[in-house]
């Protein structure tokens, strides 16, 4: 892709997706929502998540050669 192609695609992109206006503001006061979010109790992971973690750990312990393969696809 040469410089001209790049410029043409940039121009097309700017026409298709106009930039956001300067200094946009949220439509409401978000502070009360932040406070509610901070007060919310953290959701405990369901038991099957722990079972999955335990299963993966056991699999990794029995088949350590699978660890790099697993990390590669992560």
């Amino acid at each position: 892709m040469n410089a001209n192609d790049e410029l043409r695609i940039k121009k097309l992109l700017q026409q298709a997706l106009p930039p956001v206006e300067d200094n946009p503001e949220p439509g409401r006061d978000l502070w009360p929502v932040v406070l509610r979010r901070m007060d919310a109790r953290p959701v405990a992971p369901p038991w099957f998540d722990w079972a999955l973690v335990a299963g993966l750990a056991a699999f990794a312990a029995f088949f350590p050669a699978s660890i790099p393969v697993f990390l590669y696809y992560l």
Binding site: M1, D5, E6, R8, I9, K10, K11, L12, L13, Q14, Q15, A16, L17, P18, P19, V20, N23, P24, E25, P26, G27, R28, L30, W31, V33, V34, R37, M38
Partner: protein
């Protein structure tokens, strides 16, 4: 309201809610605007602003006042926006709030603009974030690199790859830029 002095930053680091509110009031517009530029959906940007400030509060003990609040907040906001983009399904319709530019080039039809926008939303999120900030919003590469936690060269590479993929996608639709 106290300004963004080092006292406020230090108090925030200690977990002081009043200091956190001060910083929230000072930076919420900037954080919201940054997220909106990435996700281009006002409702999602509001939710992600809340999520970002919640993450910011949760990480207050790791904050380093000497490095400043804004860049740190922007980095956390970018991560939140990126997480949101990753769980979105491939776009078949344009996002809410997307409008044609006020100074639309008459040589480019509405249909081409729509196809270009859809092709853009099909890009991998990593490339899309770099391209939207660098090409559409024309933010400095240095700011983008800081927000993404990568080098300026890596930003340029992602933008180049995004434009190349976009050209390929448009070419397959019979659109030659």
């Amino acid at each position: 309201m106290r300004n963004g002095s080092i006292d406020v930053l230090n108090d925030f680091r200690q977990g002081d809610i009043a200091a956190f509110e001060t910083l929230f009031r000072l930076h919420q517009r900037a954080v919201y605007g940054w997220i909106l530029r990435i996700v281009r959906n006002p409702a999602a940007a509001e939710d992600l602003t809340v999520e970002s400030f919640w993450r910011i509060h949760r990480a207050h003990a790791r904050f380093q006042p000497s490095r400043g609040f804004e860049a740190w907040a922007r980095r956390i906001a970018t991560r939140a926006a990126f997480d949101w983009l990753r769980i979105q399904h491939p776009e078949t319709e344009l996002p809410v709030g997307l409008q044609a530019p006020a100074t639309a080039d008459p040589a480019i039809s509405g249909e081409i603009r729509r196809k270009t926008a859809l092709a853009f939303y099909r890009l991998p999120p990593k490339l899309r974030v770099a391209a939207v900030l660098a090409v559409i919003e024309e933010r400095p590469h240095k700011d983008i690199a800081e927000a993404l936690g990568i080098s300026v060269a890596a930003v340029k590479l992602r933008v180049f790859r995004a434009l190349r993929l976009l050209r390929k996608d448009l070419g397959e639709q019979g659109i030659t830029p």
